[in-house]
Symmetry: C2
Subunit: 350 residues, 2 copies
DNA sequence: TATGGTCAGTAAATCGTTACACCAGATTGG
DNA sequence: CCAATCTGGTGTAACGATTTACTGACCATA
């Protein structure tokens, strides 16, 4: 049974290939139940499976969703990929996963690769402020859902974005620290020109101000411009940032990190310096990866509802599948949640 | 420029489609340089990209490698996926990533899905002792490379396996602990019927014996049989195992965990009990995920050379691409390396 | 001038599926 | 009773590439 085609099924069932095709595509309305049964049985008997390539060549459609993440090396993206795959599977879709390593060129490369493969729906996790490098493909009909990247003013009009409210998240993190009595705070992030950082930092600042404090310095880890840090190296960013920040006079007692990996790096750096997290210094992360709870001390963090976000993304794709007419895009902002654990406490009295 | 076909390129270059195709497929031997140039320019001018579906329908070949991992939620698999993708990209291949969640049914589902998509090469990360559920597709010509799963006696004959030597790994871990003076050791693992566990436990036992000690009990976390633990939940396994083991009299001073996620769970569990890792109890993991080094204390672990393994897997696939004749499979066992960090030390003198 | 051999490139037949147009026979309506 | 409608399908032309077999044109040899 090397390869069984629709023709063989047709012959076995005593009908034409068209009829088999009609059944396969849900056009079984005008069809005798007996015929339907004969075909169904023939399919089962022969173990027939439609040839995707032929089908796609003919229709130009695929039931595959492309997912481009910065790096599955970062557990946050791994977890999200898992959730998205789960949601897609439930709708009969498959997910094709790619790592951009936050490199715009790789990002473009993958988008084109996916397009060539017939994929017309892509969930893109990017922090790039501009989507210009993809505009030409979007114009051709690519349906793009951006994740973890709020919509920007000059995005192509059909783009849908699903994200948390970063401003709220940054605010939650910082106000948690000010509420505990911290008065000197720092925001740690790589210098990626990330739209998330902007929002989170904004929320951070507003919380600091509304606590009647001066906005603390944000550490711009400029080394990142020379050799861009991937998500895996995010931990290094945090670690190195800490070494620099705490070498200066009057170091902060509270740190908000751009994500959990960076936060873990921050914790590691503090330990290098003989400081104890959750006592000498409080640390807040972002994402709530599995390891946040596993760490010592468990990490206080701003949780992203990835499961819900994944479902939203798939729902968006399913509802527009195969539609050629361009609807204007939408932007969904979900509210993040602060998860308080052991890495934060009142500042030392000294 | 909605869609540009090979015909349009041919017309633009003033040749037939066949000639364009010949150039595209490296048959440019008998072709005037001038013609070649005209075609090349036409391709660039029109932005032509061959239609994959058509190409595949005609040739029956794909340059896509399927990768099935237990769960990208586990950073180890995320890191491996990244490495494999990197190696594949360098050879002009793409990687299609799927999560089996260690569920044999999902595993089969994905293999068939990939097969239908025209994928003929799959890297399968599974711990199942048997590959019977895939035999029928392997017979049809699927080339399977198993990863992190040593070859088994009754595997289909064409299967290639790439793995570390688990016996050596288990031995390294345990003899490190006995060398530090530990005399009561425990091996912690979920009860997954994993071929890895068998090997690692065997190495563990041999090391214990050659140190002149009695083989300690292996903790079979039987709860896993009822509700199978995915890789993400591996940490819970470790944590719960510790609570149970250390409730008994005469608890061990050294623990070897089946992987790093479980080891981190073990550390978390020890902390729950007020014990200090690297002082009261020593812990050794397996894999060397990024977080092992980031943890507090940094985790001693047995490293898998995933980068090298990924390259081997791709090399295997590239060298046999499109070959119909079945060569007998091979099995490659790499030597793991012990990375000593702060989670292990001499046992307390008490 | 036959004969044959390169050279450079082309025509046409696929690959497996889909979808539009069509059709024969039965039923209905006025 | 004739035309219109419905029922349950079928025939066929794509979709875009690859590949085998072939064709003129040109050159060399005997």
């Amino acid at each position: 049974m090397e390869k069984v085609t629709i023709q063989q099924v047709a012959r076995a069932a005593g009908v034409s290939a068209s009829t088999v095709s009609n059944l396969l595509n849900g056009r079984s309305g005008r069809m005798l139940p007996a015929t339907r049964d004969r075909i169904t049985e023939a399919i089962a008997q022969l173990g027939y499976r439609p040839n995707r390539a032929a089908r796609e060549l003919r229709t130009g459609r695929t039931r595959t969703v492309g997912l481009i993440v910065p790096s599955v090396g970062n557990p946050f993206w791994g977890a999200f990929a898992r959730e998205l795959e789960h949601a897609a599977l439930a709708e009969g879709y498959n997910v094709l996963l790619c790592n951009s390593e936050r490199d715009p060129e790789r990002e473009s490369h993958y988008v084109e690769e996916l397009w060539d493969d017939g994929v017309r729906d892509i969930v893109l996790c990017t922090s790039l402020p501009s989507l210009n490098h993809l505009a030409h493909i979007i114009d051709q009909g690519l349906r793009l859902v951006t994740f973890d990247r709020p919509a920007q003013a000059d995005d192509p009009s059909t783009v849908v974005s699903i994200s948390i409210n970063n401003v709220v998240g940054g605010h939650l993190a910082a106000s948690h620290l000010t509420g505990l009595g911290h008065r000197r705070l720092t925001f740690v992030s790589g210098s990626l020109r990330s739209v998330n950082r902007t929002g989170r930092y904004q929320g951070f600042c507003s919380a600091v101000e509304s606590a009647g404090l001066a906005v603390a310095d944000m550490t711009l880890w400029t080394g990142a411009d020379e050799s861009p840090f991937g998500d895996v190296e995010a931990a290094d960013v945090g670690r190195r940032a800490v070494h620099e920040i705490f070498a200066a006079a009057d170091p902060p007692t509270g740190v908000v990190a751009i994500n959990d990996m960076t936060a873990l790096g921050v914790c590691r750096g503090l330990r290098d310096l003989g400081l104890q997290v959750g006592r000498d210094v409080s640390v807040v992360g972002f994402d709530d990866i599995i390891l946040a709870d596993l760490y010592d001390p468990p990490l206080t963090t701003v949780r992203q509802p990835i499961s819900q976000m994944a479902q939203l993304a798939i729902a968006e794709i399913v509802s527009h599948h195969g539609l050629a007419h361009r609807e204007p895009g939408r932007s969904v902002l979900l509210r993040p949640e602060l998860i308080v654990r052991g890495s934060t406490a009142a500042p030392p009295v000294n």
